[in-house]
Protein backbone atom coordinates (compact mmCIF):
# COMPACT_ATOMS: atom_id res chain seq x y z
CA UNK A 1 0.00 0.00 0.00
CA UNK A 2 1.51 3.32 -0.93
CA UNK A 3 2.02 5.81 1.86
CA UNK A 4 0.98 9.32 1.15
CA UNK A 5 2.13 12.43 2.92
CA UNK A 6 -0.86 12.94 5.24
CA UNK A 7 -0.91 9.27 6.16
CA UNK A 8 2.79 9.39 6.95
CA UNK A 9 2.14 12.42 9.16
CA UNK A 10 -0.72 10.73 10.98
CA UNK A 11 1.19 7.48 11.49
CA UNK A 12 4.29 9.18 12.78
CA UNK A 13 2.19 11.31 15.13
CA UNK A 14 0.53 8.14 16.40
CA UNK A 15 3.89 6.45 16.93
CA UNK A 16 5.27 9.46 18.73
CA UNK A 17 2.18 9.67 20.93
CA UNK A 18 2.48 5.96 21.75
CA UNK A 19 6.14 6.34 22.65
CA UNK A 20 5.41 9.36 24.77
CA UNK A 21 2.55 7.61 26.56
CA UNK A 22 4.79 4.62 27.27
CA UNK A 23 7.43 6.93 28.68
CA UNK A 24 4.87 8.76 30.78
CA UNK A 25 3.31 5.52 32.06
CA UNK A 26 6.63 4.02 32.97
CA UNK A 27 7.61 7.27 34.73
CA UNK A 28 4.35 7.34 36.67
CA UNK A 29 4.78 3.65 37.53
CA UNK A 30 8.26 4.39 38.84
CA UNK A 31 7.03 7.22 41.03
CA UNK A 32 4.24 5.05 42.40
CA UNK A 33 6.57 2.11 42.98
CA UNK A 34 9.15 4.27 44.75
CA UNK A 35 6.39 5.50 47.06
CA UNK A 36 5.18 1.98 47.66
CA UNK A 37 8.70 0.78 48.33
CA UNK A 38 9.30 3.56 50.78
CA UNK A 39 6.10 2.72 52.66
CA UNK A 40 6.99 -0.99 52.64
CA UNK A 41 10.43 -0.19 53.99
CA UNK A 42 8.90 2.00 56.72
CA UNK A 43 6.48 -0.82 57.51
CA UNK A 44 9.27 -3.36 57.77
CA UNK A 45 11.17 -1.06 60.16
CA UNK A 46 8.09 -0.39 62.30
CA UNK A 47 7.31 -4.15 62.53
CA UNK A 48 10.84 -4.65 63.71
CA UNK A 49 10.40 -1.81 66.23
CA UNK A 50 7.24 -3.48 67.55
CA UNK A 51 9.13 -6.74 68.07
CA UNK A 52 12.00 -5.01 69.84
CA UNK A 53 9.63 -2.99 72.00
CA UNK A 54 7.58 -6.12 72.85
CA UNK A 55 10.67 -8.05 73.90
CA UNK A 56 11.89 -5.05 75.93
CA UNK A 57 8.51 -4.92 77.64
CA UNK A 58 8.71 -8.60 78.42
CA UNK A 59 12.21 -8.24 79.85
CA UNK A 60 11.07 -5.27 81.98
CA UNK A 61 8.21 -7.32 83.41
CA UNK A 62 10.65 -10.20 84.01
CA UNK A 63 13.06 -7.74 85.70
CA UNK A 64 10.23 -6.58 87.95
CA UNK A 65 9.36 -10.21 88.79
CA UNK A 66 13.06 -11.04 89.39
CA UNK A 67 13.37 -8.06 91.79
CA UNK A 68 10.21 -9.16 93.64
CA UNK A 69 11.46 -12.74 93.91
CA UNK A 70 14.90 -11.65 95.22
CA UNK A 71 13.29 -9.35 97.81
CA UNK A 72 10.84 -11.97 99.00
CA UNK A 73 13.66 -14.52 99.32
CA UNK A 74 16.20 -12.33 101.03
CA UNK A 75 14.15 -9.59 102.53
CA UNK A 76 16.83 -7.22 101.49
CA UNK A 77 15.88 -4.00 99.87
CA UNK A 78 18.74 -3.98 97.39
CA UNK A 79 17.22 -6.89 95.47
CA UNK A 80 14.31 -4.63 94.74
CA UNK A 81 16.43 -2.45 92.40
CA UNK A 82 15.40 -4.20 89.13
CA UNK A 83 11.77 -4.11 90.31
CA UNK A 84 11.91 -0.41 90.92
CA UNK A 85 13.57 0.37 87.57
CA UNK A 86 10.97 -1.73 85.78
CA UNK A 87 8.10 -0.14 87.64
CA UNK A 88 9.51 3.27 86.81
CA UNK A 89 9.96 2.43 83.09
CA UNK A 90 6.84 0.40 82.39
CA UNK A 91 4.20 3.17 82.63
CA UNK A 92 6.13 4.85 79.80
CA UNK A 93 6.99 1.78 77.74
CA UNK A 94 3.59 0.12 77.90
CA UNK A 95 1.46 2.83 76.17
CA UNK A 96 4.29 3.41 73.71
CA UNK A 97 4.19 -0.25 72.68
CA UNK A 98 0.41 -0.17 72.38
CA UNK A 99 0.69 2.88 70.16
CA UNK A 100 3.36 1.25 68.02
CA UNK A 101 1.30 -1.88 67.57
CA UNK A 102 -1.74 0.10 66.54
CA UNK A 103 0.35 2.29 64.24
CA UNK A 104 1.90 -0.83 62.72
CA UNK A 105 -1.54 -2.15 61.94
CA UNK A 106 -1.35 -4.83 64.65
CA UNK A 107 -4.16 -6.22 66.76
CA UNK A 108 -5.31 -3.30 68.96
CA UNK A 109 -7.48 -5.54 71.20
CA UNK A 110 -4.55 -7.89 71.84
CA UNK A 111 -2.40 -4.86 72.63
CA UNK A 112 -4.91 -3.56 75.15
CA UNK A 113 -5.27 -7.05 76.65
CA UNK A 114 -1.49 -7.15 77.05
CA UNK A 115 -1.63 -3.76 78.73
CA UNK A 116 -4.23 -4.99 81.24
CA UNK A 117 -2.29 -8.17 81.89
CA UNK A 118 0.89 -6.22 82.52
CA UNK A 119 -0.99 -3.89 84.84
CA UNK A 120 -2.50 -6.91 86.63
CA UNK A 121 0.98 -8.40 86.96
CA UNK A 122 2.34 -5.14 88.33
CA UNK A 123 -0.55 -4.94 90.81
CA UNK A 124 0.22 -8.49 92.05
CA UNK A 125 3.91 -7.63 92.36
CA UNK A 126 3.19 -4.37 94.16
CA UNK A 127 0.86 -6.19 96.58
CA UNK A 128 3.43 -8.82 97.49
CA UNK A 129 6.26 -6.30 97.79
CA UNK A 130 4.27 -4.02 100.04
CA UNK A 131 3.15 -7.03 102.22
CA UNK A 132 6.80 -8.10 102.53
CA UNK A 133 7.92 -4.61 103.38
CA UNK A 134 5.34 -4.37 106.09
CA UNK A 135 6.76 -7.61 107.50
CA UNK A 136 4.03 -9.96 106.41
CA UNK A 137 6.34 -12.12 104.36
CA UNK A 138 4.23 -15.20 104.86
CA UNK A 139 1.16 -13.51 103.45
CA UNK A 140 3.14 -12.24 100.55
CA UNK A 141 4.35 -15.73 99.75
CA UNK A 142 0.78 -16.95 100.07
CA UNK A 143 -0.23 -14.47 97.39
CA UNK A 144 2.58 -15.79 95.21
CA UNK A 145 1.49 -19.32 95.86
CA UNK A 146 -1.97 -18.54 94.58
CA UNK A 147 -0.27 -18.67 91.13
CA UNK A 148 -2.15 -15.53 90.24
CA UNK A 149 1.12 -13.86 89.21
CA UNK A 150 2.35 -16.88 87.30
CA UNK A 151 -0.81 -17.19 85.28
CA UNK A 152 -0.70 -13.53 84.35
CA UNK A 153 2.99 -13.81 83.57
CA UNK A 154 2.37 -16.79 81.25
CA UNK A 155 -0.39 -14.88 79.51
CA UNK A 156 1.99 -11.93 79.07
CA UNK A 157 4.64 -14.21 77.57
CA UNK A 158 2.10 -15.70 75.26
CA UNK A 159 0.75 -12.31 74.21
CA UNK A 160 4.25 -10.98 73.59
CA UNK A 161 5.10 -14.06 71.58
CA UNK A 162 1.88 -13.56 69.60
CA UNK A 163 2.64 -9.93 68.99
CA UNK A 164 6.18 -10.82 67.94
CA UNK A 165 5.10 -13.56 65.59
CA UNK A 166 2.35 -11.43 64.01
CA UNK A 167 4.71 -8.54 63.65
CA UNK A 168 7.26 -10.84 62.07
CA UNK A 169 4.62 -12.14 59.69
CA UNK A 170 3.67 -8.59 58.76
CA UNK A 171 7.30 -7.68 58.17
CA UNK A 172 7.76 -10.75 56.01
CA UNK A 173 4.63 -9.92 54.03
CA UNK A 174 5.97 -6.44 53.57
CA UNK A 175 9.37 -7.69 52.43
CA UNK A 176 7.55 -9.97 50.07
CA UNK A 177 5.58 -6.99 48.73
CA UNK A 178 8.79 -5.02 48.38
CA UNK A 179 10.37 -7.79 46.33
CA UNK A 180 7.17 -8.08 44.30
CA UNK A 181 7.22 -4.36 43.66
CA UNK A 182 10.82 -4.55 42.57
CA UNK A 183 9.91 -7.30 40.13
CA UNK A 184 6.92 -5.31 38.94
CA UNK A 185 9.14 -2.28 38.49
CA UNK A 186 11.61 -4.30 36.48
CA UNK A 187 8.85 -5.82 34.38
CA UNK A 188 7.24 -2.41 33.82
CA UNK A 189 10.54 -0.85 32.84
CA UNK A 190 11.21 -3.79 30.54
CA UNK A 191 7.78 -3.49 28.96
CA UNK A 192 8.21 0.24 28.51
CA UNK A 193 11.62 -0.36 26.96
CA UNK A 194 10.17 -2.97 24.60
CA UNK A 195 7.31 -0.67 23.66
CA UNK A 196 9.69 2.19 22.96
CA UNK A 197 11.91 -0.12 20.98
CA UNK A 198 8.89 -1.20 18.97
CA UNK A 199 7.86 2.40 18.43
CA UNK A 200 11.37 3.34 17.33
CA UNK A 201 11.58 0.42 14.92
CA UNK A 202 8.08 1.15 13.67
CA UNK A 203 8.94 4.79 13.08
CA UNK A 204 12.14 3.79 11.33
CA UNK A 205 10.31 1.32 9.08
CA UNK A 206 7.60 3.83 8.38
CA UNK A 207 10.12 6.51 7.46
CA UNK A 208 11.98 4.03 5.27
CA UNK A 209 8.82 2.95 3.52
CA UNK A 210 7.73 6.53 3.04
CA UNK A 211 11.14 7.45 1.64
CA UNK A 212 11.03 4.46 -0.68
CA UNK A 213 7.55 5.43 -1.82
CA UNK A 214 8.77 8.98 -2.41
CA UNK A 215 11.79 7.77 -4.33
CA UNK A 216 9.67 5.46 -6.44
CA UNK A 217 7.23 8.27 -7.19
CA UNK A 218 10.09 10.57 -8.07
CA UNK A 219 11.62 7.98 -10.36
CA UNK A 220 8.24 7.55 -12.01
CA UNK A 221 7.88 11.29 -12.53
CA UNK A 222 11.40 11.50 -13.95
CA UNK A 223 10.71 8.62 -16.31
CA UNK A 224 7.42 10.16 -17.38
CA UNK A 225 9.11 13.50 -17.97
CA UNK A 226 11.86 11.94 -20.01
CA UNK A 227 9.48 10.02 -22.21
CA UNK A 228 7.25 13.08 -22.51
CA UNK A 229 10.21 15.18 -23.59
CA UNK A 230 11.17 12.53 -26.10
CA UNK A 231 7.66 12.39 -27.48
CA UNK A 232 7.40 16.17 -27.64
CA UNK A 233 10.76 16.29 -29.38
CA UNK A 234 9.69 13.67 -31.91
CA UNK A 235 6.40 15.39 -32.57
CA UNK A 236 8.07 18.77 -32.89
CA UNK A 237 10.58 17.42 -35.37
CA UNK A 238 7.82 15.72 -37.37
CA UNK A 239 5.72 18.88 -37.37
CA UNK A 240 8.69 21.01 -38.37
CA UNK A 241 9.42 18.62 -41.24
CA UNK A 242 5.79 18.64 -42.35
CA UNK A 243 5.69 22.40 -42.09
CA UNK A 244 8.88 22.67 -44.12
CA UNK A 245 7.39 20.47 -46.77
CA UNK A 246 4.18 22.50 -46.94
CA UNK A 247 6.19 25.70 -47.19
CA UNK A 248 8.33 24.34 -49.99
CA UNK A 249 5.26 23.01 -51.75
CA UNK A 250 3.52 26.37 -51.58
CA UNK A 251 6.65 28.08 -52.80
CA UNK A 252 7.18 25.77 -55.75
CA UNK A 253 3.52 25.77 -56.73
CA UNK A 254 3.29 29.51 -56.67
CA UNK A 255 6.37 29.86 -58.85
CA UNK A 256 5.29 27.27 -61.32
CA UNK A 257 1.81 28.76 -61.48
CA UNK A 258 3.29 32.12 -62.30
CA UNK A 259 5.08 31.04 -65.49
CA UNK A 260 1.94 30.15 -67.48
CA UNK A 261 0.26 33.24 -66.15
CA UNK A 262 2.97 35.38 -67.73
CA UNK A 263 2.02 33.84 -71.07
CA UNK A 264 -1.72 34.26 -70.57
CA UNK A 265 -1.24 37.88 -69.71
CA UNK A 266 1.34 38.53 -72.39
CA UNK A 267 -0.52 36.99 -75.26
CA UNK A 268 -3.80 38.52 -74.11
CA UNK A 269 -2.16 41.87 -74.44
CA UNK A 270 -0.74 40.87 -77.82
CA UNK A 271 -4.25 39.85 -78.84
CA UNK A 272 -5.60 43.16 -77.70
CA UNK A 273 -2.91 44.90 -79.69
CA UNK A 274 -3.78 42.80 -82.72
CA UNK A 275 -7.45 43.74 -82.39
CA UNK A 276 -6.63 47.43 -82.71
CA UNK A 277 -5.67 47.28 -86.43
CA UNK A 278 -8.68 45.03 -87.01
CA UNK A 279 -10.91 47.69 -85.51
CA UNK A 280 -9.35 50.24 -87.80
CA UNK A 281 -9.91 47.87 -90.74
CA UNK A 282 -13.59 47.46 -89.82
CA UNK A 283 -13.93 51.22 -89.67
CA UNK A 284 -12.22 51.61 -93.07
CA UNK A 285 -14.30 48.89 -94.69
CA UNK A 286 -17.46 50.39 -93.21
CA UNK A 287 -16.55 53.62 -94.94
CA UNK A 288 -15.48 52.06 -98.28
CA UNK A 289 -17.73 49.01 -98.65
CA UNK A 290 -20.27 48.65 -95.79
CA UNK A 291 -21.87 45.64 -97.52
CA UNK A 292 -18.80 43.53 -96.80
CA UNK A 293 -19.24 43.77 -93.06
CA UNK A 294 -21.61 41.38 -91.37
CA UNK A 295 -23.02 42.46 -87.98
CA UNK A 296 -21.41 39.35 -86.47
CA UNK A 297 -17.93 40.31 -87.66
CA UNK A 298 -18.43 43.82 -86.41
CA UNK A 299 -19.66 42.65 -82.99
CA UNK A 300 -16.82 40.13 -82.73
CA UNK A 301 -14.10 42.68 -83.35
CA UNK A 302 -15.57 45.65 -81.56
CA UNK A 303 -17.38 44.00 -78.65
CA UNK A 304 -16.79 40.28 -78.09
CA UNK A 305 -13.01 40.23 -78.35
CA UNK A 306 -12.47 43.29 -76.13
CA UNK A 307 -14.91 41.90 -73.59
CA UNK A 308 -13.19 38.49 -73.54
CA UNK A 309 -9.81 40.14 -73.25
CA UNK A 310 -11.09 42.24 -70.36
CA UNK A 311 -12.29 39.17 -68.43
CA UNK A 312 -9.11 37.24 -69.13
CA UNK A 313 -7.09 40.20 -67.93
CA UNK A 314 -9.03 40.77 -64.70
CA UNK A 315 -9.07 37.05 -63.88
CA UNK A 316 -5.38 36.79 -64.52
CA UNK A 317 -4.69 39.75 -62.31
CA UNK A 318 -6.74 38.23 -59.55
CA UNK A 319 -4.95 34.92 -59.93
CA UNK A 320 -1.65 36.77 -59.74
CA UNK A 321 -2.72 38.38 -56.47
CA UNK A 322 -3.74 35.02 -55.02
CA UNK A 323 -0.46 33.43 -56.04
CA UNK A 324 1.41 36.34 -54.54
CA UNK A 325 -0.52 35.85 -51.32
CA UNK A 326 0.46 32.19 -51.14
CA UNK A 327 4.01 33.15 -51.93
CA UNK A 328 4.01 35.79 -49.21
CA UNK A 329 2.66 33.33 -46.63
CA UNK A 330 5.17 30.69 -47.64
CA UNK A 331 7.96 33.23 -47.50
CA UNK A 332 6.85 34.39 -44.07
CA UNK A 333 7.00 30.78 -42.94
CA UNK A 334 10.54 30.45 -44.24
CA UNK A 335 11.82 33.81 -43.07
CA UNK A 336 14.31 33.61 -40.22
CA UNK A 337 13.00 35.39 -37.14
CA UNK A 338 15.21 38.01 -35.59
CA UNK A 339 13.98 38.35 -32.00
CA UNK A 340 14.92 41.63 -30.37
CA UNK A 341 13.66 43.62 -27.38
CA UNK A 342 10.46 45.41 -28.36
CA UNK A 343 8.53 48.05 -26.45
CA UNK A 344 5.07 46.86 -27.49
CA UNK A 345 3.42 50.09 -26.43
CA UNK A 346 5.76 52.23 -28.53
CA UNK A 347 5.43 49.86 -31.48
CA UNK A 348 1.62 49.96 -31.48
CA UNK A 349 1.61 53.72 -30.91
CA UNK A 350 3.83 54.00 -33.98
CA UNK A 351 1.46 51.84 -36.01
CA UNK A 352 -1.48 53.97 -34.88
CA UNK A 353 0.38 57.08 -36.04
CA UNK A 354 0.91 55.62 -39.53
CA UNK A 355 -2.79 54.75 -39.67
CA UNK A 356 -3.83 58.24 -38.55
CA UNK A 357 -4.71 59.32 -42.07
CA UNK A 358 -7.08 56.39 -42.63
CA UNK A 359 -8.54 56.90 -39.14
CA UNK A 360 -9.24 60.55 -39.87
CA UNK A 361 -10.82 59.69 -43.20
CA UNK A 362 -13.10 57.16 -41.53
CA UNK A 363 -13.87 59.57 -38.69
CA UNK A 364 -12.58 57.03 -36.21
CA UNK A 365 -10.41 57.24 -33.10
CA UNK A 366 -7.91 54.80 -31.71
CA UNK A 367 -7.22 54.50 -27.97
CA UNK A 368 -4.19 52.68 -26.66
CA UNK A 369 -4.52 51.60 -23.03
CA UNK A 370 -1.25 51.79 -21.11
CA UNK A 371 0.37 48.74 -19.61
CA UNK A 372 1.66 46.88 -22.65
CA UNK A 373 4.89 45.11 -21.74
CA UNK A 374 8.27 44.85 -23.34
CA UNK A 375 8.73 41.59 -25.19
CA UNK A 376 11.51 39.80 -27.00
CA UNK A 377 10.23 39.03 -30.47
CA UNK A 378 10.52 39.66 -34.20
CA UNK A 379 9.76 43.33 -34.81
CA UNK A 380 8.66 42.99 -38.42
CA UNK A 381 6.25 40.15 -37.65
CA UNK A 382 4.73 41.95 -34.65
CA UNK A 383 4.28 45.10 -36.73
CA UNK A 384 2.57 43.14 -39.47
CA UNK A 385 0.23 41.41 -37.01
CA UNK A 386 -1.05 44.62 -35.42
CA UNK A 387 -0.87 46.56 -38.66
CA UNK A 388 -3.21 44.07 -40.29
CA UNK A 389 -5.60 44.02 -37.33
CA UNK A 390 -5.82 47.82 -37.09
CA UNK A 391 -6.17 47.97 -40.85
CA UNK A 392 -9.09 45.54 -40.71
CA UNK A 393 -10.71 47.41 -37.83
CA UNK A 394 -10.62 50.64 -39.83
CA UNK A 395 -11.76 48.86 -42.99
CA UNK A 396 -14.86 47.27 -41.49
CA UNK A 397 -16.21 50.06 -39.29
CA UNK A 398 -19.93 50.62 -39.11
CA UNK A 399 -20.75 53.74 -41.12
CA UNK A 400 -23.70 54.36 -38.79
CA UNK A 401 -21.58 55.41 -35.79
CA UNK A 402 -18.19 56.96 -35.15
CA UNK A 403 -15.55 54.28 -35.07
CA UNK A 404 -13.75 53.55 -31.83
CA UNK A 405 -10.80 51.19 -31.79
CA UNK A 406 -9.28 50.21 -28.45
CA UNK A 407 -6.04 48.33 -27.96
CA UNK A 408 -5.23 46.98 -24.53
CA UNK A 409 -3.06 44.24 -23.15
CA UNK A 410 -2.07 42.30 -20.12
CA UNK A 411 0.76 39.97 -19.29
CA UNK A 412 0.64 36.40 -18.04
CA UNK A 413 3.61 34.41 -16.86
CA UNK A 414 4.81 33.52 -20.33
CA UNK A 415 2.64 35.42 -22.78
CA UNK A 416 1.24 38.82 -23.51
CA UNK A 417 -2.43 39.11 -24.46
CA UNK A 418 -3.30 42.06 -26.67
CA UNK A 419 -6.88 42.83 -27.61
CA UNK A 420 -7.77 44.93 -30.60
CA UNK A 421 -11.39 45.87 -30.09
CA UNK A 422 -13.60 47.81 -32.49
CA UNK A 423 -17.24 48.87 -32.61
CA UNK A 424 -17.50 48.01 -36.28
CA UNK A 425 -19.94 45.89 -38.21
CA UNK A 426 -18.95 42.63 -36.50
CA UNK A 427 -18.55 39.12 -37.81
CA UNK A 428 -21.08 36.31 -38.00
CA UNK A 429 -20.27 33.68 -35.33
CA UNK A 430 -20.19 30.99 -38.04
CA UNK A 431 -17.22 32.75 -39.59
CA UNK A 432 -15.10 33.25 -36.46
CA UNK A 433 -12.84 30.34 -37.35
CA UNK A 434 -13.13 30.58 -41.10
CA UNK A 435 -11.85 34.15 -41.42
CA UNK A 436 -8.37 32.96 -40.46
CA UNK A 437 -8.25 30.67 -43.48
CA UNK A 438 -6.55 31.80 -46.66
CA UNK A 439 -8.82 33.53 -49.21
CA UNK A 440 -11.84 33.37 -46.87
CA UNK A 441 -13.82 36.49 -46.12
CA UNK A 442 -16.95 37.19 -44.14
CA UNK A 443 -19.97 39.43 -44.52
CA UNK A 444 -20.75 41.84 -47.34
CA UNK A 445 -17.97 41.82 -49.93
CA UNK A 446 -17.98 45.57 -50.32
CA UNK A 447 -14.35 46.21 -49.41
CA UNK A 448 -11.30 45.40 -51.51
CA UNK A 449 -9.24 42.43 -50.37
CA UNK A 450 -8.37 38.83 -51.12
CA UNK A 451 -8.93 37.26 -47.70
CA UNK A 452 -5.26 37.16 -46.90
CA UNK A 453 -4.67 39.49 -43.95
CA UNK A 454 -6.01 37.34 -41.10
CA UNK A 455 -4.45 34.14 -42.47
CA UNK A 456 -1.22 36.03 -42.46
CA UNK A 457 -1.79 37.33 -38.91
CA UNK A 458 -2.46 33.80 -37.67
CA UNK A 459 0.63 32.38 -39.40
CA UNK A 460 2.77 35.12 -37.89
CA UNK A 461 1.29 34.85 -34.37
CA UNK A 462 1.82 31.10 -34.35
CA UNK A 463 5.40 31.50 -35.44
CA UNK A 464 5.94 33.89 -32.54
CA UNK A 465 4.75 31.26 -30.06
CA UNK A 466 1.18 32.51 -29.83
CA UNK A 467 -2.13 32.60 -31.66
CA UNK A 468 -5.01 34.84 -32.54
CA UNK A 469 -8.72 34.39 -31.93
CA UNK A 470 -11.84 36.35 -32.62
CA UNK A 471 -14.88 37.26 -30.55
CA UNK A 472 -17.53 39.27 -32.23
CA UNK A 473 -21.19 40.19 -32.17
CA UNK A 474 -22.61 41.18 -35.55
CA UNK A 475 -23.67 44.81 -35.43
CA UNK A 476 -21.76 45.61 -32.25
CA UNK A 477 -18.11 45.04 -32.99
CA UNK A 478 -15.25 42.59 -32.94
CA UNK A 479 -12.37 41.82 -30.62
CA UNK A 480 -9.26 40.12 -31.90
CA UNK A 481 -7.15 38.70 -29.11
CA UNK A 482 -3.52 38.07 -29.96
CA UNK A 483 -1.33 36.03 -27.64
CA UNK A 484 2.40 36.29 -28.15
CA UNK A 485 5.19 34.56 -26.26
CA UNK A 486 7.09 37.09 -24.15
CA UNK A 487 10.16 35.50 -25.65
CA UNK A 488 9.67 34.30 -29.22
CA UNK A 489 10.69 30.67 -29.80
CA UNK A 490 13.88 29.92 -31.66
CA UNK A 491 13.69 29.30 -35.40
CA UNK A 492 12.55 25.74 -35.97
CA UNK A 493 13.89 25.56 -39.48
CA UNK A 494 16.95 26.90 -41.16
CA UNK A 495 16.13 28.21 -44.60
CA UNK A 496 19.42 28.69 -46.36
CA UNK A 497 20.59 30.43 -49.47
CA UNK A 498 20.95 26.95 -50.97
CA UNK A 499 17.18 26.58 -51.18
CA UNK A 500 16.10 26.73 -54.75
CA UNK A 501 12.64 26.21 -56.09
CA UNK A 502 13.81 23.77 -58.76
Amino acid sequence: MPIDKSMFGRLSMLLMATGFAALLASGAGMVWLVGETRSFATGVVSSQDVRIAASQLLSLVQDAETGQRGFLLTGEERYLAPYRRAVADLPRELPALVERIIADGGDAAAARALQQQVEAKLAELAETVSLAQSGAVEEALAVVLTDRGKVVMDAIRQAVAGIESRSLARGEARSEGLAGNARLLLAGAGAAFLLMLAVTIGAGLLARRYTQALEAAQAEVTAANTSLEERVGERTAALAAANDEVQRFAYIVSHDLRAPLVNVMGFTTELEAAVAPLGALIAAVEREAPALITPEARAAVLEDIPEAVGFIRSSTQRMDRLINAILRLSREGRRLLHPEPIDLEALIAGLAATQQHQLDEAGASLALAPGLPRIHSDRLAVEQIFGNLVDNAVKYLDPGRPGRITIRGRTTRSHVLVEVEDNGRGIDPRDHGRIFELFRRSGRQDRPGEGIGLAYVRALARRLGGDVECRSTPGLGSTFRVTLALTAPANTQTPSAEDSPA
Binding site: H255, R258, A259, V262, M265, G266, A497, S500, A502
Partner: protein, 144 residues
Protein backbone atom coordinates in the same frame (compact mmCIF):
# COMPACT_ATOMS: atom_id res chain seq x y z
CA UNK B 1 16.95 50.66 -88.51
CA UNK B 2 20.51 50.54 -87.24
CA UNK B 3 23.08 48.34 -88.78
CA UNK B 4 23.62 46.01 -85.82
CA UNK B 5 26.68 43.77 -85.94
CA UNK B 6 24.97 40.72 -87.40
CA UNK B 7 27.60 38.27 -86.21
CA UNK B 8 26.87 39.11 -82.61
CA UNK B 9 24.17 36.93 -81.20
CA UNK B 10 22.02 36.84 -78.17
CA UNK B 11 21.73 33.44 -76.53
CA UNK B 12 18.40 32.85 -74.85
CA UNK B 13 17.93 29.88 -72.53
CA UNK B 14 14.23 29.62 -71.86
CA UNK B 15 12.12 26.49 -71.53
CA UNK B 16 8.79 28.30 -71.91
CA UNK B 17 8.25 28.93 -75.61
CA UNK B 18 5.59 31.52 -74.89
CA UNK B 19 7.96 33.49 -72.74
CA UNK B 20 10.64 33.20 -75.39
CA UNK B 21 8.30 34.51 -78.05
CA UNK B 22 7.19 37.43 -75.89
CA UNK B 23 10.80 38.31 -75.10
CA UNK B 24 11.78 38.22 -78.78
CA UNK B 25 8.81 40.36 -79.78
CA UNK B 26 9.61 42.97 -77.17
CA UNK B 27 13.32 42.97 -78.00
CA UNK B 28 12.43 43.75 -81.60
CA UNK B 29 10.06 46.48 -80.46
CA UNK B 30 12.91 47.88 -78.40
CA UNK B 31 15.02 48.02 -81.53
CA UNK B 32 17.26 45.08 -80.85
CA UNK B 33 17.67 43.12 -84.06
CA UNK B 34 20.60 40.88 -83.17
CA UNK B 35 20.16 37.21 -83.94
CA UNK B 36 18.58 35.41 -81.01
CA UNK B 37 19.63 31.79 -80.53
CA UNK B 38 16.95 30.12 -78.46
CA UNK B 39 17.54 26.97 -76.41
CA UNK B 40 14.76 25.14 -74.63
CA UNK B 41 16.97 23.37 -72.11
CA UNK B 42 20.22 23.74 -70.27
CA UNK B 43 22.04 20.86 -71.93
CA UNK B 44 21.61 22.22 -75.45
CA UNK B 45 22.53 25.72 -74.32
CA UNK B 46 25.73 24.54 -72.58
CA UNK B 47 26.61 22.42 -75.62
CA UNK B 48 26.40 25.50 -77.79
CA UNK B 49 28.20 27.81 -75.38
CA UNK B 50 31.04 25.65 -74.01
CA UNK B 51 30.77 22.35 -75.88
CA UNK B 52 31.89 21.14 -79.32
CA UNK B 53 29.76 23.63 -81.17
CA UNK B 54 31.45 26.45 -79.33
CA UNK B 55 31.07 29.55 -81.46
CA UNK B 56 34.09 31.26 -82.96
CA UNK B 57 33.13 34.50 -81.31
CA UNK B 58 31.58 35.26 -77.99
CA UNK B 59 27.85 35.90 -77.85
CA UNK B 60 26.83 39.46 -77.07
CA UNK B 61 24.59 38.48 -74.24
CA UNK B 62 23.10 35.49 -72.48
CA UNK B 63 19.46 35.68 -71.39
CA UNK B 64 18.94 33.02 -68.77
CA UNK B 65 15.90 31.52 -67.12
CA UNK B 66 16.47 29.86 -63.75
CA UNK B 67 13.77 27.18 -63.90
CA UNK B 68 14.88 24.77 -66.59
CA UNK B 69 13.69 21.20 -66.99
CA UNK B 70 17.12 19.55 -66.95
CA UNK B 71 19.19 21.81 -64.73
CA UNK B 72 19.12 24.92 -62.66
CA UNK B 73 20.02 28.23 -64.27
CA UNK B 74 22.51 28.65 -61.43
CA UNK B 75 24.57 25.79 -62.88
CA UNK B 76 24.73 27.43 -66.32
CA UNK B 77 25.63 30.77 -64.75
CA UNK B 78 28.41 29.14 -62.74
CA UNK B 79 29.77 27.33 -65.84
CA UNK B 80 29.81 30.53 -67.89
CA UNK B 81 31.55 32.49 -65.17
CA UNK B 82 34.10 29.72 -64.71
CA UNK B 83 35.07 29.87 -68.41
CA UNK B 84 37.82 32.46 -68.95
CA UNK B 85 36.63 33.23 -72.46
CA UNK B 86 32.96 33.56 -71.63
CA UNK B 87 33.44 35.24 -68.25
CA UNK B 88 33.12 38.83 -69.65
CA UNK B 89 29.82 38.07 -71.44
CA UNK B 90 26.97 39.79 -69.62
CA UNK B 91 24.38 37.36 -68.31
CA UNK B 92 20.89 38.63 -67.71
CA UNK B 93 18.72 36.43 -65.54
CA UNK B 94 15.12 36.76 -66.60
CA UNK B 95 12.92 34.54 -64.53
CA UNK B 96 9.63 34.27 -62.62
CA UNK B 97 11.31 33.98 -59.25
CA UNK B 98 11.60 37.13 -57.20
CA UNK B 99 12.96 35.48 -54.09
CA UNK B 100 15.56 37.65 -52.41
CA UNK B 101 17.93 34.78 -51.68
CA UNK B 102 17.92 33.69 -55.33
CA UNK B 103 18.52 37.19 -56.55
CA UNK B 104 21.43 37.55 -54.14
CA UNK B 105 22.83 34.21 -55.22
CA UNK B 106 22.68 35.16 -58.90
CA UNK B 107 24.59 38.36 -58.27
CA UNK B 108 27.11 36.45 -56.19
CA UNK B 109 27.64 34.10 -59.11
CA UNK B 110 28.29 37.08 -61.38
CA UNK B 111 25.10 37.83 -63.26
CA UNK B 112 24.88 41.36 -64.66
CA UNK B 113 21.19 42.04 -64.24
CA UNK B 114 18.39 40.13 -62.59
CA UNK B 115 14.94 40.78 -64.02
CA UNK B 116 11.76 39.27 -62.64
CA UNK B 117 9.18 38.37 -65.26
CA UNK B 118 6.13 40.22 -64.02
CA UNK B 119 2.72 38.79 -64.77
CA UNK B 120 1.64 42.29 -65.66
CA UNK B 121 2.53 42.45 -69.34
CA UNK B 122 3.11 46.19 -69.49
CA UNK B 123 5.74 45.85 -66.79
CA UNK B 124 7.17 42.86 -68.61
CA UNK B 125 7.46 44.74 -71.88
CA UNK B 126 8.97 47.65 -70.02
CA UNK B 127 11.60 45.36 -68.50
CA UNK B 128 12.57 43.93 -71.87
CA UNK B 129 12.72 47.40 -73.42
CA UNK B 130 15.07 48.47 -70.65
CA UNK B 131 17.12 45.46 -71.62
CA UNK B 132 17.30 46.94 -75.12
CA UNK B 133 18.60 50.17 -73.61
CA UNK B 134 21.11 48.17 -71.66
CA UNK B 135 22.26 46.50 -74.86
CA UNK B 136 22.63 49.89 -76.51
CA UNK B 137 25.12 51.06 -73.90
CA UNK B 138 27.27 47.97 -73.61
CA UNK B 139 30.27 47.98 -75.84
CA UNK B 140 30.48 45.48 -78.60
CA UNK B 141 33.42 43.40 -77.48
CA UNK B 142 36.44 43.70 -79.78
CA UNK B 143 36.97 40.63 -81.82
CA UNK B 144 40.18 38.96 -80.69
Amino acid sequence: MNAAPQAVTIVMVEDDEGHARLIEKNLKRAGVFNEVRHFLNGTAALDFLVGHGRPEHRPLLVLLDLNLPDMSGFDILARLKADPQLKPVPVIVLTTTDDEREIRRCYELGCSVYITKPVNYETFAQAVRQLGLFLAVIQVPPTP
